[in-house]
């Protein structure tokens, strides 16, 4: 085969990037209180197409009424969270050619109240966030703060959170058991871990994590870690360390003995 012929056979795409394949999308349509249904749309596949591209194609060409929240299309704003084939994902980060053959189902996040179509009301999360004891700097700390790299390094990971709330969506405590009042959810244990481990923070949130936060409800199934688009080790680096801090206070006799000694050694500090 000549070089030219080989090059020609390698060209599998038209000049506008279409692969020639038509993908069937079954998209959730509905508003609260009305009959919801899945509507099927046929979308021409484009090389490198992500699910959000398909939703935009549907909005532009097939159904301008379809509601979808999105912003950056770069997996950094956390707006386009949805459930594709039943998996909580960012639509902008889910390639169509990575999905199995057949109809692709797109639904809103199940854990949150529906607004319309693929849009859900995530405002409950902001209320939880507001209720957390905020960053409380150490008193009498000379400024500017001089923080060593190894004191702050653990916190970088927590700062990567884009608040897409996929972890909250997949968490079975919120998703299946509706314990929204008793349990803060993975995103907020990440935030609390970031505050608790901060070298300049002076607040003690251990009891808040145990009681209002309801960390005891978490049974370590790690689904939050599995779905995180920023690959934050939510369970291993945030939730379990917070469970361990609760264990320090309530479940460790040896450590408690040493803490008592240490506390009673401080002038004016009563032992537990």
């Amino acid at each position: 085969m000549t070089d030219a012929a080989e090059a020609t056979t390698d060209i599998r795409h038209t000049q506008d990037g279409r692969t020639g394949r038509t993908v069937h999308f079954s998209v959730f349509r509905g508003v609260p209180g009305a009959n919801a249904s899945y509507v099927t749309y046929d979308v021409p596949e484009v090389e490198g197409m992500v699910v959000l591209d398909a939703i935009h194609y549907i909005q532009k060409n097939l159904d301008m009424d379809l509601a979808c929240r999105w912003n950056c299309k770069a997996a950094k704003c956390g707006s386009c969270s949805a459930e594709v084939n039943g998996h909580p994902v960012l639509m902008c980060k889910t390639r169509v050619d990575d999905l199995p053959e057949g109809t692709i189902t797109v639904a809103p996040m199940k854990t949150f109240p529906l607004v319309k179509d693929l849009v859900t009301d995530v405002s409950r999360n902001y209320k939880v966030n507001a209720s957390i004891t905020p960053f409380t700097p150490r008193k009498d700390e000379p400024t500017p703060w001089n923080i060593k790299q190894h004191d702050i390094e653990r916190l970088y990971e927590f700062r990567k959170c884009i608040e897409c709330f996929l972890c909250m969506d997949v968490c079975h405590i919120l998703r299946n058991h509706d314990l929204h009042e008793e349990y803060y959810g993975p995103r907020y244990f990440v935030r609390m871990a970031g505050l608790e481990m901060h070298p300049m923070d002076d607040a003690d949130r251990t009891e808040e994590i145990r009681t209002e936060g309801g960390i005891g409800f978490c049974n370590i199934t790690k689904c939050c870690t599995d779905v995180c688009p920023e690959h934050i080790h939510i369970t291993d680096n945030a939730i379990i360390p917070m469970k361990e801090r609760v264990a320090d206070r309530h479940w460790d006799p040896i450590r408690r003995m040493f803490t008592k000694k240490k506390e009673s050694a401080k002038p004016g500090t009563a032992a537990e």
């Binding site: 969506d169 049974n219 370590i220 199934t221 369970t235």
Partner: protein, 258 residues
């Protein structure tokens, strides 16, 4: 830029996507019930084997090898098998381990069986806030006990180099040492150890030995990242060591040695 029809066209890379290994891709595309089924099968087999060893397994010792199920030797000539006095401690450690909690909550209790699938539970969910599951918080105690048992296993592994005052190195010695290495990686890579070594410190610069604790925390974190792997490897190695010594003891195989 318009694509020239005669130019060799290269599909774009999966920009912005973490590269998936073949195993990850297989896992993602596998049916959701495959992992729970595998975990139930393997863990059930281990539980059955452990129970059989504890109640009916006799005493597994073939000089210079002592099975890990029977170490430390407590009440060797008592009314029940010596394994019964030892097994509860490592079992408690494993039962309360954060990795195994994930495995059995998903696989045995189906709470949930997989991510983003429904649950069969009808009773209100209490998680680890009520009896009996709040006993998982005993992990710290279990870890202290497991470390003591591990020390005895290392003593046994070192003792297996000596037979009647002479240096001895057999396949069994190697198996016992490997078993101890796997168990050490599992025990010291545990989340509780990681927390005690450095995870509980907010500001390493302000505590005594902070830099060393940070280094220790980083080392344990590396072990901890593969905690599941160490958990399974050490589970298999304990059974393999016991089976090997049992076979040597009964004369079914002859221990190759120097």
């Amino acid at each position: 830029m318009a694509q020239d029809a005669t130019t060799k066209w290269t599909p774009p890379e999966h920009t912005g996507l973490a590269k998936e290994s073949a195993f990850q891709r297989l896992r993602r595309r596998a049916p959701w019930w495959l992992l729970p089924l595998t975990v139930v099968t393997v863990l059930s087999a281990f539980i059955v084997y452990g129970m059989w060893t504890a109640f009916f397994g006799g005493k597994v010792y073939s000089a210079p090898y002592l099975s890990p199920f029977y170490s430390p030797q407590i009440w060797w000539n008592g009314p029940v098998t010596p394994a019964l006095w030892v097994l509860p401690f490592p079992l408690l450690f494993r039962a309360t381990c954060y990795y195994y909690r994930k495995a059995y909550y998903r696989s045995f209790f189906w709470d949930p069986p997989a991510c983003a699938v429904g649950e069969a539970r009808k009773k209100p969910y209490k998680g680890e806030t009520r009896f009996p599951l709040f006993l998982s918080n005993l992990h710290r105690y279990a870890m202290y006990l497991a470390v003591i048992v591990l020390i005895f296993l290392w003593i046994d592994a070192v003792a297996a180099f000596d037979l009647n005052g002479h240096f001895y190195f057999g396949l069994g010695t190697a198996i016992m040492v490997i078993n101890c290495i796997f168990l050490s990686a599992y025990t010291f890579g545990c989340h509780s150890v990681r927390h005690l070594v450095g995870g509980c410190v907010d500001c390493y610069s302000r505590v005594r030995g902070g830099a060393k604790r940070y280094e220790g925390w980083k080392f344990i974190t590396r072990l901890n990242e593969h905690h599941a792997m160490w958990a399974w490897l050490s589970l298999f190695s304990v059974v393999a060591t016991d089976v090997y010594i049992r076979l040597v003891m009964t004369g079914i195989i002859i221990d190759p040695h120097f």
